[in-house]
């Protein structure tokens, strides 16, 4: 603090930042009403439901509600399946992103569009599609069942598959964008040093795009945690096995609204934690 009082420190970079920021926010005087009013309405629209959740939360009975066995079961299942789905997305999605960003093959644009399809597809449709593919009588599921005795629908593994199906595109798109922004000449430099393309990817590209991968993984994880439609369609709603938090919330809302609010609060807290983590660790980290 004292160093700032010295005359020499006045021109230092530390004082330059806030000053510039002040100039930037000073432009408020010119905001036209047709933009300001709808903008504020939108803000209220986005925040009001969350505020309502906090206002109507049964704060007194909250500890009791949250320590019930069902809640813990659902929360635990949600965390485990979302993390597993993220792991699956990472292991399969990062290589797919690399293929899309770094190789040329016919129909790449189409493949890219197909990869992003689950982003816009209604999750319920995704669940139906998964049933048709991996269900007991599904295109692939039939063989899984008769050859290996593997049944995927209505199991915890099924939850992971449903979540990964919905969440992986987020990761792929995020990582592909980071890869496209990363300078491919580093990979070239690595190959001139004797690295195979895979070694170059592992030892040079991967560390360089790590922030993008982390951001994509968090997005995918959050998406997997909130997954409802595909999960309930493909994996059903069995407490302890396939009943994740969102399913528990929906069910509780019909029998025990207070419990539903409590569960929602937990998910809200997790979301805020994720957002804060993203902001501090990765969003600022990639800027460097």
């Amino acid at each position: 603090m004292t160093s700032l009082d010295k005359p020499g420190a006045a021109t230092g970079p530390r004082t330059g930042g806030p000053r510039r920021r002040r100039v930037g926010t000073g432009g408020r005087r010119g905001v036209p009403l047709p933009l300001l009013v709808p903008g504020l309405v939108a803000l209220a629209f986005l925040l009001l439901p969350l505020v309502a959740l906090l206002v109507r939360a049964p704060w007194r009975s909250l500890p009791q509600l949250l320590t019930s066995a069902e809640v813990w079961q659902a929360l635990q299942l949600s965390l485990v399946t979302a993390t597993a789905a993220t792991a699956v997305s990472l292991v399969l999605g990062v290589p797919l992103a690399w293929l899309l960003a770094r190789t040329e093959f016919p129909g790449r644009g189409l493949v890219r569009a197909l990869v992003t399809l689950p982003l816009v597809l209604p999750p319920v449709v995704g669940g139906v599609a998964l049933l048709l593919a991996l269900g007991r009588n599904g295109v692939v599921g039939k063989w899984l069942d008769s050859w290996f005795g593997i049944t995927l629908p209505f199991t915890t593994t099924g939850v992971v598959i449903a979540e990964a199906f919905v969440a992986m595109p987020f990761l792929v798109i995020s990582v592909e964008g980071t890869l496209r922004a990363a300078d491919p000449r580093y990979e070239e430099a690595a190959t001139t040093l004797g690295a195979s393309r895979f070694t170059a990817f592992r030892r040079v590209t991967l560390p360089l795009i790590a922030p993008g991968i982390a951001a994509g993984a968090v997005l995918a994880w959050a998406r997997a945690l909130g997954e409802f439609g595909a999960t309930i369609t493909f994996a059903g709603n069995f407490p302890g096995r396939t009943q994740t938090m969102p399913l528990a919330v929906y069910l509780a809302l019909q029998n025990d609204p207070e419990a539903a609010i409590a569960l929602s609060l937990v998910l809200l807290a997790v979301s805020i934690a994720v957002l804060a983590g993203l902001r501090d660790r990765w969003l600022t980290g990639t800027g460097r």
Binding site: D183, R185, Y186, T191, T192, L193, G194, S196, R203
Partner: protein, 361 residues
């Protein structure tokens, strides 16, 4: 790392040491066709204007661009279709491309690691290289903490640590400021002199080329237009681009005895006795300007010109002349003032025959 060693086994060996290449790369609108040979210990500079294809040639040597035609042999080994990771070639890239997430030491150790050395061995080798470059105390520094000159030396150490038989340098001094450049150029010259295999560097700066290389290969529009020692090229330029680089007026004509009839029209009298197609070159300082036609002047090379432009050139004024013979003339500021030179002024230009230099085209 056995997958790296494997392709080398079936490489064909055909005779002699050093580099023997003909690089042909066809890109529709642009075609590169460059022949390049060098013995171990040679430092060859590819010199040329932007877009001439120098960097493409370098990338072809490294295997980063496939050859459309031609061949590439290094120490008798055919490398035409060898992937870059299996070529005994080291590259110093223009902006160095040091891996930003690795320390200087690990950047240099990267190559030995890929060649199968253990982590400890690779680091020991890297440390020795950094020591040789005078960078021992910066071994732990990340690239962004290094100055331009230091980064350049780390990049050189990284390329040399793979013990290449061909070292490629793409504009090795272009990223440096003028002062660092002088110092780094001298160091680089020393390291290149110590390097026992072939070194090929690409530059558009004639000074870098002449200081660093034993031999220059000048490329224009994808083709070699001239090659030779720096001294030879500086004395006998064969294209306008090279003449401009080395600061000479250059003309092409047909000689008959002491007289060279230029393709452009007028004649130049020279001291050499030649016949057939020739080049004539003379430096801008050899030109003397007069406002009025000089009477009884001994110079037979006298042309009527007009000043097209003037610019300062060191402590001199360079006059760009058009007219009977387009040429550049250097004169002192005082002389320029006395002649009242300005764009559009009519002048007479003379050159003594003894200051011209004619050579067969």
């Amino acid at each position: 790392m056995t997958d790296i060693d494997a392709p080398k086994a079936d490489l064909q060996v055909v005779g002699e040491q050093g580099l023997d290449a003909r690089l042909v790369i066809d890109r529709g609108s642009f075609r590169l066709d460059v022949g390049l040979t060098a013995a171990p210990g040679d430092v060859v500079a590819l010199l040329g204007p932007n877009g001439a294809g120098k960097t493409t040639a370098l990338r072809a040597l490294a295997g980063l661009v496939p050859l459309s035609d031609g061949h590439l042999r290094l120490d008798g080994v055919v490398l035409d279709r060898t992937p870059p990771e299996s070529r005994p070639v080291g590259v110093v890239f223009q902006d160095y491309l040091l891996f930003p997430h690795l320390s200087a030491l690990d950047n240099v150790a990267f190559g030995p690691r890929c060649q199968g050395a253990t982590k400890a061995e690779a680091r020991a080798q890297a440390a020795a290289w950094l020591d040789r470059m005078g960078l021992a105390e910066h071994a732990g520094a990340k690239p962004r903490r290094l100055s331009g000159g230091q980064a350049q030396r780390v990049a050189l150490a990284r390329a040399l640590a793979t013990r290449p038989r061909l070292l490629l340098l793409d504009e090795p001094l272009a990223a440096l400021d003028a002062r660092t450049r002088l110092e780094v150029r001298a160091q680089l010259r020393r390291h290149l002199a110590e390097f026992e295999a072939v070194a090929v560097l690409v530059t558009h700066d004639p000074l870098d080329a002449m200081v660093l290389a034993d031999r220059l290969v000048v490329i224009e529009h994808g083709r070699v237009v001239q090659e030779g020692t720096p001294a030879d090229i500086a004395r006998h330029p064969r294209t306008d681009y090279i003449a401009q680089l080395v600061g000479l007026n250059l003309y092409r004509g047909r000689a008959e005895g002491h007289t060279v009839r230029l393709d452009a029209g007028p004649s130049i009298t020279t001291t050499e006795v030649l016949s057939g197609p020739v080049f004539v070159a003379f430096p801008p300082v050899a030109v003397t300007l007069f406002r009025d036609r000089p009477t009884g002047a001994s110079a037979r090379n006298l042309w009527r010109c007009e000043v097209a432009g003037l610019e300062t050139h060191g402590d001199q004024i360079r006059a760009d002349l058009t007219g009977e013979l387009p040429l550049a003339a250097d004169l002192t500021t005082v002389a320029a003032a006395e002649l009242d030179l300005h764009p559009g002024a009519a002048v007479w230009a003379t050159v003594k025959a003894t200051q011209t230099h004619a050579y067969p085209a």
